[in-house]
Symmetry: C2
Subunit: 391 residues, 2 copies
C-alpha cells in the first residue's frame, strides 16, 4: 500500500472539500487502489476519511485484483452465460458503502473529462466513463453532490511517489530493451513494419521475463526516410517502406508495464549518416543534455525548452524546430503536467515525471529526435531511460 | 463515397427527426465520412439533407484525410509550436457551417455514450468525447437541440454495406496471416510472449504489403496450458509461460486495418493432443459449422447459440460451456448487435457482421475456442475468416 499516495490524495480531497471519489479508469485505479484492471468495468471507492475502501470488480479479474489496497471487493460474475447484472451489483454495493461511510449527502468526485484515456492490457478496446455511466452513478446516489474531479486527479497524478517511481523504473527497463534492439536492427533494406515487429517482440519477450511483471503492452511506431521529418506528429505511421542507405529510421515507442508508462524515442541511420545528419544528431544530444542539466524542482517549466532551443539554433537548425520539448507521463502515455514549452510559467516540482525530447525535422534529411524520460528531483533529475544514444 | 451508407444514415436520421450529427470518434468517422483519423481530434459534420459536409482536422493528418467524402476540410495547425487553438477553430467552423446549413435551431446528435471505444492507429492513447467536449459542443450552438445519438449510430453500424464488407475482407486477409503463422509456431518450449510476437510480426509485415493498406494494428493475446480454460475472459493475458508437451495454446487476435476490425481465435496443441482435447476440438468444429449453417437473415439471434450448444452437450461437454456464441463487430472489436446468445429475440439481418465462437473451457485439459467472423446474407453467411482449423 502506497501510504504516500493515499495520504496526499486524501489531503487534496479535503482541500477541495471532496468526501469521496468513484473511479473507473484503469489509470486512476492504478494510482488510488493499487490495481490495474484488465477491462475497465471495475469501480473503486476512495474516501477522504479512509482512503481506498471498496472495489466492485468482475470475478474474472481475480488475479488482476490481487494486492488491491482495499479490505473489501464486491465481485460480479461477468461475462459468462450465468453472469450477474453488473449495474445491479454496482448499485447495491455503492448504496451499501454510501450508508456505511455516510456519503448519501456527500460531495463525490467522478471522472467526467478524461478525454485522453490509457488502454487496458487488452488494448484493442478502451472503456470510457461517458454520459451513460455518469448519469447512472448520479442516479445511484441522487442526493450526493457529484462533481467532476478530472482536474484534481490530473494534478495529483503529476507528482509521482517513491513507490510509483520504482514501478516506472521497471517500465523503462523494458522500454530500454526495445531501444537497444532497434539500433541493432536498422540497416538498408529493412522495412518500417519489420523494425516495429522486432522492437515489439524484444520488449514483450524480455519484459514478461522480468521478475514481478504481469502484463506488458508495447506500441512501437517507425517513420523513415522522407517521412521522418514528420515524426513530430502523434500519428507517426508504420508502413511498408524499406530503408535505403543513408536514410533515418525514427522509433517512437510507448511501453506499459502493469499500468505504468514510458514514452521514448531513438533514431538510427541505415548505413552511413551524412554530415548534416551527424551535425543535427550532435546538436540534439547536446540540447537534450543541457535541458536535463537545467531541470530541478523550482525551475520554470519553460526553461528546458529555452535551453534546448538555444543550442539547436546556435548549431544552425533554427528552422527545424517545430515541437515542444516535453510532457508529463507515467499513468498514461501523455499527461498534462508538466509541459516543457515556451510560455509555461508553472514551476517544476519534485516527483514530476516527463519526457525530454528535443527534435529537428527537415524535409531534406529527415527527422531526429531523442526522447528520454526523467524524474524531477530537488537537486536535478533522475534519468529513467538508460539506453545509449547513437546514430 | 459509399452512397449506400450515406443514404441509409440520412434516412435513419430523418426517421429519428435528427437534422445533423457531430462526430469525433474515429470509428464513426470511418463509417460516415470515409476517413480514419489517427488522433481523435477531428470532428465531422453530417446532415440529414446533404450527408457528410465538413471535417475539421489537424493539418498533420492531411494524408489520413485523403479521400474524405466532404468537399470542405477546415484545417488547424496542431500540435506544433505555431499551433492554432483547436477549440477556437472548431467553434468558428461549426458556427459557420450551422449558419450555412440552417442548424442553429436544429436537432443535433452527438456521441454521448460510446463507453467502448476503438483505439486509433497510435493505440497507446484513446481520445473519448467526454463531459468537457460535449459541454463545449453544446456551448457552440446553444439554441440547437442536442441529443445523444449513440443508439442510432450503433443501430446503423450493425448492418454493413457492400463497400464496408469489402474493407472487412481485406482486414480478415491480414488476420488470416496471423492465424496460419500461429499454427506453425506452436511447439513445446515456446513462450506465450514469443507466440504473440510472431503473430504480431506476421500480420504487420504482410498486412502493410497488401495493396491499398495504410495502417495495420495488431492485438494478439495468448493463453496456454492451465490458463487456457479461462480464455473466455476478455483479459486473456500473454505471459512468460512456456508451453509443455500436450498443452494447448489459445490465440485471441484482434486486427484493425484502416479502421476495420477482425476478432478471431485459433487453438493449437504443442506436441500431441490428448483424446479429450481431440474430442473437444471436434465438437467445437462441428458446433461452429452447425451454428453458421443455421444463420441467415430472419433467423432469431439466439438460434446459432442453441444449435452450437446442443452439439457440444451431445458430445458430453455440457459443463464446459460458459460463454455466448457471438457478437457484432467491424467498426470496433466488439459491437452490440447482434449478440448470438440465449434469450436474444432479435432476428439476424442481412449485413450483420458477427463472430461465431463456440468454446469449451475445462480446468483439466484447457480451453478450446474457434472464432470466425461472418457476414449474414439473405440465404446464409459469408465466412470472412479463411484460415484452416486444426489442433
Amino acid at each position: 500500500m502506497d501510504q504516500e499516495r493515499i495520504g496526499r490524495l486524501r489531503r487534496a480531497m479535503r482541500a477541495a472539500k471532496l468526501d469521496a471519489l468513484v473511479l473507473r479508469l484503469p489509470e486512476n485505479l492504478v494510482m488510488a487502489m493499487g490495481v490495474w484492471p484488465m477491462n475497465g468495468y471495475s469501480h473503486g471507492l476512495f474516501t477522504a476519511d479512509e482512503g481506498p475502501v471498496l472495489l466492485i470488480a468482475p470475478s474474472c479479474e481475480n488475479e488482476e485484483m490481487d494486492g488491491a489496497w482495499v479490505r473489501e471487493i464486491e465481485w460480479f460474475v461477468w461475462p459468462r452465460l450465468d453472469m450477474d447484472d453488473p449495474a445491479e451489483v454496482l448499485q447495491r454495493a455503492l448504496r451499501q458503502a454510501a450508508k456505511a461511510h455516510r456519503l448519501n449527502r456527500a460531495r463525490i468526485g467522478y471522472e467526467g473529462s478524461f478525454e485522453a484515456i490509457a488502454p487496458p492490457h487488452n488494448a484493442g478496446e478502451v472503456l470510457a466513463p461517458c454520459e451513460s455511466t455518469i448519469a447512472f452513478l448520479k442516479s445511484i446516489l441522487p442526493s450526493a453532490r457529484w462533481t467532476d474531479a478530472t482536474d484534481l486527479l490530473h494534478a495529483q497524478r503529476a507528482q509521482k511517489t517513491a513507490s510509483e517511481i520504482a514501478r516506472l523504473r521497471l517500465t523503462h527497463r523494458v522500454a530500454d530493451f526495445g531501444l537497444k534492439r532497434f539500433h541493432k536492427a536498422v540497416r538498408p533494406g529493412v522495412t518500417e513494419a519489420e523494425l516495429a515487429s522486432i522492437v515489439y517482440s524484444e520488449c514483450l519477450n524480455r519484459g514478461v521475463r522480468l521478475k514481478g511483471v504481469r502484463h506488458v503492452n508495447v506500441f512501437p511506431q517507425i517513420s523513415s526516410g522522407p517521412n521522418a521529418h514528420r515524426a513530430w506528429r502523434p500519428n507517426v505511421s508504420t508502413g511498408r517502406r524499406r530503408l535505403r542507405d543513408g536514410e533515418i529510421a525514427l522509433l517512437e515507442l510507448a511501453v506499459c508495464v502493469d499500468g505504468f508508462w514510458a514514452d521514448v524515442t531513438r533514431v538510427a541511420v541505415a548505413g552511413r549518416p551524412s554530415q548534416v545528419q551527424k551535425d543535427a544528431f550532435h546538436a540534439v544530444v547536446t540540447a537534450q543534455q543541457a535541458a536535463m542539466d537545467c531541470m530541478k524542482a523550482g525551475v520554470p517549466a519553460s526553461r528546458p525548452h529555452e535551453v534546448a532551443t538555444k543550442i539547436l539554433c546556435q548549431a544552425g537548425f533554427a528552422d527545424d524546430i517545430v515541437h515542444l520539448t516535453g510532457h508529463g507521463l507515467g499513468f498514461r502515455y501523455h499527461e498534462p503536467e508538466p509541459f516543457l514549452m515556451p510560455g509555461n510559467r508553472q514551476r517544476l516540482k519534485a516527483g514530476h515525471v516527463c519526457s525530454v525530447e528535443p527534435g529537428l525535422y527537415n524535409r531534406a534529411w529527415g527527422g531526429i529526435r531523442l526522447e528520454d524520460n526523467v524524474v524531477v528531483r530537488r537537486d536535478g533529475v533522475e534519468v529513467l531511460t538508460k539506453a545509449p544514444k547513437k546514430l
